[in-house]
């Protein structure tokens, strides 16, 4: 009835937006910054990517624009938290609200138009899906094998020590925040350019929050992020299939399923982690803390 291979290919597509956003946030949090603005950066990416793709007729330019726009809206957050020492949680929430409002305002002109078609890559999958899959080992390698990744982890683990050793904590963190914004932007643009094929207000529908949850669920590792994204993508695809098959379950419940499944798994894993925290927690040591350099 349901072909598992086809289903898996659909899953890959469905998990891509969250995969990008969560990988970006993973790098941000590994640098010790908690950016709750993922949803806002995604929606800004969704709009600017869509508009750029529509006006140029080239979807790839759309994704590039989305990355740029995502990084750009993350900059105020970076300035607020890194220079003005604003609270990261509040600034992140503000970024989400700001992004949602901004996209709603500037999205009016492109409402109802259709996105240009994309050329598919191997297996009939969008090239961006492949890029997302490639980012997983790339980010894993960056964090665990490269010198720059080591410095980034050091900054996130103990910013005072990193400063004492002469690393520029702010610069590392600002770069990480910008990267996280770019990744969230691409993730958002995937929804508008490649999935829905048009722009509607609030179309990211909480994907940013799921991405945030998945980073915790992943225990701050790239393969874990992939697993989390696939879980969410898998349940999404499955419930769409069930809806299409006319299963006699209220649609609202089915639509809720991916979020619910992610939250349940998250709670279960966190409960286990709380026990295993005795064996040394894995959250970056300086996560969410302000850094003041004493000179």
């Amino acid at each position: 009835m349901i072909d598992p291979v086809a289903l898996f290919l659909l899953l890959l597509s469905a998990s891509t937006p969250i995969l990008f956003a969560a990988l970006g946030e993973l790098v941000v949090e590994r640098a010790g910054v908690l950016n709750l603005g993922v949803e806002g950066m995604m929606i800004v990416g969704a709009l600017s990517g869509f508009a750029a793709a529509y006006h140029t007729g080239n979807p790839f330019l759309g994704f590039a624009a989305a990355a740029g726009a995502g990084a750009l809206v993350a900059l105020p957050f970076a300035i607020l938290t890194q220079f003005l020492m604003s609270n990261q949680v509040a600034s992140g929430l503000a970024l989400t609200l700001f992004g949602l409002g901004l996209a709603a305002l500037f999205g009016k002109p492109v409402e109802g138009v259709k996105a240009p078609a994309m050329i598919s890559g191997p297996l009939g999958l969008n090239w961006i899906v492949w890029l997302g899959l490639l980012m997983v080992p790339a980010i894993w390698w960056f964090l665990n094998r490269s010198r720059a990744g080591l410095i980034l982890r050091g900054v996130g683990e103990n910013h005072d020590a990193a400063h004492a050793l002469g690393y520029n904590v702010r610069r590392v963190r600002i770069a990480a925040i910008a990267f996280g914004g770019a990744m969230a932007g691409v993730g958002g643009a995937f929804i508008s350019i490649a999935t829905v094929l048009q722009w509607t207000e609030g179309m990211t529908a909480g994907a940013g929050w799921i991405a945030l949850a998945i980073v915790v669920f992943s225990n701050w590792t790239a393969p874990g992020v992939l697993a989390g994204a696939w879980l969410f993508g898998g349940v999404t695809v499955l419930q769409l299939r069930l809806q299409a098959a006319g299963v006699r379950v209220p649609v609202q419940l089915l639509s809720m399923a991916p979020y619910l499944a992610t939250i349940i798994v998250l709670v279960a894993i966190s409960a286990r982690q709380k026990l295993s925290r005795r064996a040394g927690g894995t959250a970056p040591g300086s996560l969410g803390q302000d850094f003041h350099a004493l000179r």
Partner: protein, 506 residues
């Protein structure tokens, strides 16, 4: 060569808001020399070495390294010029492995495999065993320090700076450290060494420069002077001998009965049937090598971790299930060892820090509102009584020098006139003069009828202060012995596991 010095400072000065931390400091360090930097808490030692390491920029004066002008813009520039440093507060990354920590402290680390081989090589050459793959969080204080030292050695420094490296080490670990330093010095490295342990400086250092109030006041050969004489140079006057008189053991205040508790963290120690009795006016010393349950015992007594009912009694009342605030109200106070983060909030002002433990007992909080003037007055009172060197009560806790903050957190508890006070490492990183003052304050407190428990790794301190002594070993507390007449041999036995001395209550 006319000027053989590795490092030379000329007229260095540095001001912080309200403090002249360094003023016209000039001195030189020769190759192969272990050069001690002495001074009271807040004398400006850390500030001076931070300037050499490029963390702080001097306001005036010049520095020279190997005859070249030395003006590092940041620590990486200083490292490139041949300066390495071990910090007063550890600068390690807990979640990272030993090899990763070392790589972060090097300018151009070799690839992983080579680095691990090099670490193995150096740890063998210097007799500092260390596994490069272990996570730093699982290491003891001594092992952590090995990481920092190997990180320095691998850079072949010309000048190695060590800021109070032994304050958290056991005597054996300290001996090992000096053997390592001597080897390095024999290889031509100049070593700048900061410590408050005068005896250790007298036995191991070749020269000493003494700072007071940010200025160089003297320079001498420490081997030619007694510890008392060195201390006198530091404070600029004679030290008062400790006064132990006038105390009498009164009624039983605190009883701990068969207190057992699993280890709170993977690296922690479980408490196993700890039993003790403390009388009014008595000082009970608890010795032992770090990591044998000292922190756990303190948190169990302070109420941070609650224990089984009936295990902790204060004047007959069961406190076992009460939290820290309730225990404070009952008169049981505690001052933990880790001053930055546990005893004090680094970013809070001293005034705000008084509120953390003294809110209720000192009436600083009234109907849920903070009485600011009262808190400020209390902070000022502590600063005055304990001679805390700081511009004022509005200063952030982390801007104080290590020893001064220590005086402040001890003072905050002592001045609340508790029924029972538990302190862990009360004079960690505190200069000789101030350490004597802190100890005297504990004795004075006991004279007024408070029961005091002193947990410390400093045996001399315990012998000087306590009436009875017991040893903490792998979470077990030995039976107390009167301190008078106790020999170092006996103590060594008790610390080493004290078979036959601990079976009694099990």
């Amino acid at each position: 060569m006319t000027d053989a010095a590795v490092f030379r400072a000329r007229g260095i000065g540095k001001s912080y808001p309200g403090v002249r931390a360094n003023d016209d400091v000039s001195f030189a360090v020769d190759p192969g020399e272990i050069h001690a930097l002495l001074g009271e808490n807040g004398a400006g030692k850390s500030t001076l070495v931070k300037m050499i390491y490029g963390l702080v920029r001097p306001d005036d004066g010049q520095m020279e390294l190997n005859g070249q002008p030395h003006q590092p813009a940041d620590p990486r520039a200083a490292r490139a010029a041949g300066v390495a440093m071990v910090f007063q507060h550890f600068s390690l990354f807990d979640a990272l492995t030993v090899a990763e920590n070392i790589a972060l402290g090097m300018e151009n680390p070799p690839p992983r495999r080579d680095l691990s081989a090099k670490i193995a090589q150096v740890s063998q050459d210097f007799g500092l065993p260390l596994n490069p793959a272990r996570r730093v969080a699982t290491l003891s204080a001594g092992e952590r320090q090995r990481v920092e030292i190997i990180r320095c050695i691998l850079q072949n420094p010309r000048l190695l700076i060590m800021d109070e490296p032994t304050s958290v080490l056991t005597p054996q670990e300290a001996e090992l450290l000096f053997a390592t330093l001597r080897k390095l010095a024999d290889g031509g490295t100049a070593i700048l060494y900061i410590s408050h342990k005068l005896e250790e400086i007298r036995t191991h250092c070749d020269r000493a420069t003494i700072l007071r109030g940010g200025r160089v006041v003297d320079s001498c050969d420490p081997r030619a002077h007694s510890a008392r004489a060195l201390a006198a140079m530091m404070v600029g006057g004679e030290m008062r001998p400790i006064d132990r008189s006038g105390r009498q053991a009164g009624e039983v205040l605190l009883q701990v009965k068969r207190l057992s508790q699993p280890a709170p963290t993977a690296e922690g120690t479980a408490l196993k049937g700890v039993t003790l009795t403390l009388r009014a006016g008595e000082i009970l010393g608890i010795g032992g090598v770090a990591g044998n349950g000292q922190d756990e015992l303190l948190t169990a007594l302070s109420g941070e971790i609650r224990s089984a009912p009936g295990t902790i009694l204060l004047e007959g009342a069961d406190l076992s299930r009460l939290g820290p605030e309730a225990r404070r109200s009952a008169g049981l106070l505690a001052a933990p060892e880790d001053r930055l983060g546990h005893a004090a909030v680094p970013d809070f002002s001293l005034t705000d820090n008084t509120l953390l433990t003294a809110g209720a007992r000192k009436g600083l909080v009234c109907k849920g509102l903070i009485d600011r003037p009262a808190a400020r007055a209390y902070a000022e009172a502590i600063i005055r009584a304990f001679d805390v060197r700081t511009p004022g009560p509005g200063t952030a806790a982390k801007a104080l020098s290590g020893g001064n903050l220590q005086k402040f957190v001890i003072g905050r508890e002592v001045m609340q006139a508790p029924r029972v006070l538990v302190v862990n490492q009360p004079t960690w990183g505190v200069d000789a003069g101030a350490a004597a003052a802190v100890r005297q304050s504990l004795l004075d407190l006991a004279r007024k009828g408070t029961g005091v428990i002193v947990i410390s790794q400093d045996l001399d301190e315990l012998l000087e202060l306590s009436d009875r002594f017991c040893a903490l070993n792998e979470g077990r507390l030995s039976d107390p012995l009167p301190t008078e007449g106790l020999t170092l041999d006996q103590i060594g036995l008790m610390l080493g596991g004290a078979h036959g001395m601990e079976v009694a209550h099990l």
